[in-house]
Amino acid sequence: MDVSQYLEVFIDETNEHLQNLNTQILELEQTPDNMDTVNEIFRAAHSLKGMAGTMGYKRMQDLTHAMENVFSKVRDGEIKVNSAMIDTIFQCLDAIQEYLDNIQGGGDEGTNDNAAIIKSLNGFLNGEAPADDDNEAKDDGEAQGTQTQEATSDSGKNKWKDIKLAEEQIDVIDAARKEGKNVVGLTVYVQEACILKSARAFLVFKALEELGEIVVSVPSTQDIEDERFEYEFSVILITDATVDAAIAAAKGVSEIEDAVGGLLEDVEASDASQSKEEDEAEVTLPEVTTGAVAATGKTSDTAGNRPATAEKKKPVVNRTVRVDIEKLDDLMNLVSELITAKNSLVSAATADNEAANDVGEHIEYLENVTTSLHESVMKVRMVPIESVVNKFPRMIRDLQKKLGKKMELYMSGEETELDRTVVDEIGDPLMHLLRNSADHGIESDVNLRKERGKPEEGSIFLDAYQDGNNVVIEVRDDGNGIDVEAVKAKALERGTITEEQANQMSDKEIINLLFLPSFSTAKVVSDISGRGVGLDVVKSKIESLSGEVDVKSTLGVGSTWTIRLPLTLAIIQSLMVVVGNEKYAIPLGNIQTIESIRPDDVKAVQQKEVINLRGNIIPIIRLSEILDCKSTKAEDEDLVVVIVKKGDKQAGLVIDELTGQQEIVIKSLGKYIQRSKVISGATILGNGEVALIIDPNALI
């Protein structure tokens, strides 16, 4: 069956489930007896298995199946969670992640069977299995590679006979019987090649409901809607029609393989068998109905065929944003408002003069709507950073074991939202910083920590919050801090700086040397960090996202790395200026102040023009020269200088005129024009003309 169109959804959801499992298992490690957690894990593992099976990833399915079995036992209280088990489960999750990465990379799950992990997972089952018959049941479950949602049955295709009825349902059926209606049991088989199982099932339901009333269905309608069923489902229908009519109705829906049914004769009998079956079900939980075995067998076949066809395929994964339905509703609402506003403008324009006076009012309204629309669209692009940071507790746990240091990660502000493009990119830099903190930050020597009056367990903090138009992410540790002298010595040794420079540099400047390519001060190179790639990568990545990274550190106390990112890349506040009759935009985020300077206050230092602003010497840049146009100002007129900053550096941009502040949408200049460094893009002004956006970072 062709499932490639579901690949995106599969990858998205598998990622979600994996993340969820990682989080839950960490929690389970803390509180091994928490049944809610165990149930949650079981559900996630089960969904993973189902999804992998549907997509035909056999190896992934086998592995998740083994994991699910373990949690099935844990859930039933038959085996206890221990730390060895948690370690294995984590290995298992990593292996699943590997499958997923392979799939994402080339559409194939890869060839690693991970037999060792499956074996050790099964070991947990057998090692502490309490009773013989349980063992048997378990082995069956493993061999057949699936588990059941229904009770065991020997009734062949007529699975509806196994439906258990609740008391009120029996009452309904009794009442119906008295009215002389037929009570029909039906089991419907959907074709295995069917892609939209739930849609087919829905059509069957609809067809049956035309005949009468559906009392009960197995699995539940909810499960069927969510596609949580194999290839068949059973219903009990109260109807005036005959059994054959009901079967015909079900078969009338396309992609239905078969439907079997009969009259439900004896409610009492089925009631009695119900309790019996329930007992059975408890004992033989992992066992399987024959139909399901056949189904799984076939799924495996398709799994076997799949890689051959998949090899040709390139990854087809687009980047998607999952949008809260409420946000979409908002958008829809605003768009209809927009149409209303347009209509009132049209009518005002065509009406007589009196009504034309209202135009101003309508325009104001239109403005409100567009502003809100703008905001809403922006919000749609925003996703919480949660999806990225959630994997970090797990990482820290692993590092803890690897490094033999005790540490804990405290996170806050996971709900902070950022543009999707930014969130996608921010994971790696953050991981680098956290690893850096864990490896170099937290002292390896517990006694040293004690001497310094710190708790034995190191703390790493990850805080995210919104600050105006920026989002700030801080990685903080209570470790060793940065040894400025060590950095200096290393820089000298490497020849990065000269002795003379070293003496002139401030501590901060020296710390900033860490961001240079291939500069690692770690005495021992570990596989966690310390290869000298890292901090420079962090810096360039953050800067490519128009953000900045900064570090504050006190030796012996700890370090704080601060990442500052723009909320969104597409829309910015900017200052509109005029240079030589041309309009330009300067991003407000870069601007510090705007000054008026007398021409004779401009001094020349080393052939560069500078101004003295409240004690700061700031170089000035005449934009008219950079932009290759003629300033409209006379030489003796005061200069309008926009002071911009980049990190600690400042510069003054000389412009002709200010026109005000405006929210602008950044557009690309396209591929054809060789982008000059100074121009970062263009925007469209209210009158439809284009204004270019100046990138002050390129000027400083």
């Binding site: 146009c629 557009k667 200049l669 396209g670 054809y672 060789q674 000059s676 263009a682 469209i684 003309e689």
Partner: protein, 155 residues
């Protein structure tokens, strides 16, 4: 049957006027033809790129076909038009032309391929063939070359 096939081989060209000559632009590349509008200058680019304009929210670079071909630049007139062409590789690009005349259909046998030994520099660079419509010669522009090549008089 045969006739229909011949007819389908005809390619439509937009006939434009540049100075005294007529040129043809393959209509399949033409996205839009607009009247001149304010062009925002972009600093530090080749002289034949006049800047960018906004067409329905899209920023489109505008190139002076005259400058590109090494002709004298002239003032905008009533008949000046921007022809927006769409290239797979570069996206949309606007060409400033003196005037847009009409659409002509040329069949393959009406087009004479340009010989390499022509002395005319422009023709050598940008023209892929010459067609004859009602006794007037129309030089067919090779858009790839027009867009890609450096201008004839670029230093």
């Amino acid at each position: 049957m045969e006739e229909v096939k011949v007819y389908s081989e005809a390619v439509q060209y937009i006939k434009i006027e540049m100075g005294t000559e007529m040129f043809g632009i393959d209509i399949s590349f033409v996205d839009n033809i607009v009247r001149p509008q304010h062009v925002t200058r972009v600093p530090n680019v080749a002289s034949y790129i006049k800047g960018v304009i906004n067409i329905r929210g899209e920023i489109i670079p505008i190139m002076s076909l005259r400058l590109k071909m090494g002709l004298e630049e002239i003032e905008e007139t009533k008949s000046t038009r921007f022809i927006i062409i769409k290239m797979e590789k570069y996206g949309k690009i606007g060409l400033i032309v003196d005037a847009v005349k009409e659409v002509v259909a040329l069949e393959d046998n009406q087009i004479e391929r340009v010989k390499v030994d022509t002395s005319d520099e422009i023709t050598q660079h940008f023209v892929s063939g010459v067609g004859k419509v009602d006794g007037v010669l129309v030089s067919l522009l090779d858009l790839d070359m027009v867009i890609m090549e450096k201008s004839a008089k670029e230093e």
